[in-house]
Symmetry: C2
Subunit: 178 residues, 2 copies
DNA sequence: CCGGTCATGTAATACGTTACATGATTCA
DNA sequence: TGAATCATGTAACGTATTACATGACCGG
């Protein structure tokens, strides 16, 4: 019955770190949780309006008279309580869909070369991604935020699974060349 | 504009291996692609009806007179062509949402113990999953299907990323105990 | 004879993206 | 001055799950 309303908690979590506008949250998600969590415009703005109506967040002085003024939101005690209750609950694992694997699973229907090409392109993407992770890791080391250990934890996760996929690519390409 | 209609290709792919009923496909997905691809009833049956109307599949003799008789479908030349065209296209990578990581990212809001608990439970799940993969790998070694190398490839992917996450769990737990 | 699995299918609802609409500000 | 970015918000659409409806068949 009750779906999880995860967007709500992603927004509350972001606002637990500092007051932000919808746009700020969007940008912050793009540069931090991007590889494991994304939200689109069509989700963020309606969800913020709902949180405001529920008094889980408040709106800090936005310029009046302006039609589309920047609105900065701050989490309330009620919002923080809701966030913590959610954080205490066990995360429900969801199984992601992997289109590359689905294509490889049916790979017998096309020439080996096609399957190799898919893996090679995946490999190239992973190399780029790993470089980005390494750069973020380096930048983070100069950060004094109390959130740092948790940010590093999620980043390490990204590095580990990216490296594992790179190892797999190598083995897979070897297997398909025979 | 054009969304991908991935369910269609998952069904066509399954039917490229052998004729099956909707129920068979459901079961086959659950025991093979389960960790990277899932489909629900509400997707499978309407999609099969559409494929039939498009003549991408045909229905092999179902018992008449019966209201809900088992219907076995077979892929047609048209369906096989569509499947191959899709297999030739580059897979579009989608970024999955990981609720565990989202909770850890906001981990500062709750006691360390809570975050450790989430990781410990994830670890237990991964151990079980890895054991299942190892068992399937062993069972597959007696299989003579021409699809075998492709099935092994996707299975290896599962083993690699599961092991990588186990390694990460260990490091994360160490970090959070300090 | 009862519970589990086989088996198909629909309805209600939730989830999420993309495109569109609108317009200000900043910087080269 | 024109492009990029900042900034909010809505509408249309597609995707996907869950619950429900229905009933046969099989093994203990």
């Amino acid at each position: 019955m009750n779906r999880s309303h995860k967007t709500k908690y992603a927004l509350l979590g972001m606002l637990s770190q500092r007051p932000m506008s919808g746009y700020d949250i969007k940008k912050a998600l793009q540069t931090s949780t991007n590889f494991f969590w994304q939200e689109s415009d069509g989700q963020i703005y309606p969800a913020l309006a709902k949180l405001l109506a529920d008094k889980s967040i408040i709106c800090l002085a936005a310029k009046a008279n302006e039609v589309r003024a920047r609105k900065v939101y701050k989490i309330t005690a009620k919002g923080l309580k809701e966030l913590k209750e959610w954080l205490n609950k066990d995360p429900v694992p969801t199984i992601p869909r992997n289109e590359l694997l689905l294509k490889l699973f049916f790979g017998l229907n096309v020439p080996t070369q096609i399957n190799r090409k898919h893996i090679l392109e995946h490999q190239q993407m992973l190399v780029k991604r790993l470089a980005i992770f390494k750069k973020i890791e380096k930048d983070l080391s100069n950060d004094n935020s109390p959130h740092l250990p948790y940010w590093q934890l999620t980043l390490k996760f990204g590095e580990y699974i990216t490296q594992a996929q790179l190892d797999w690519c190598e083995e897979a390409l070897k297997k398909l060349s025979k």
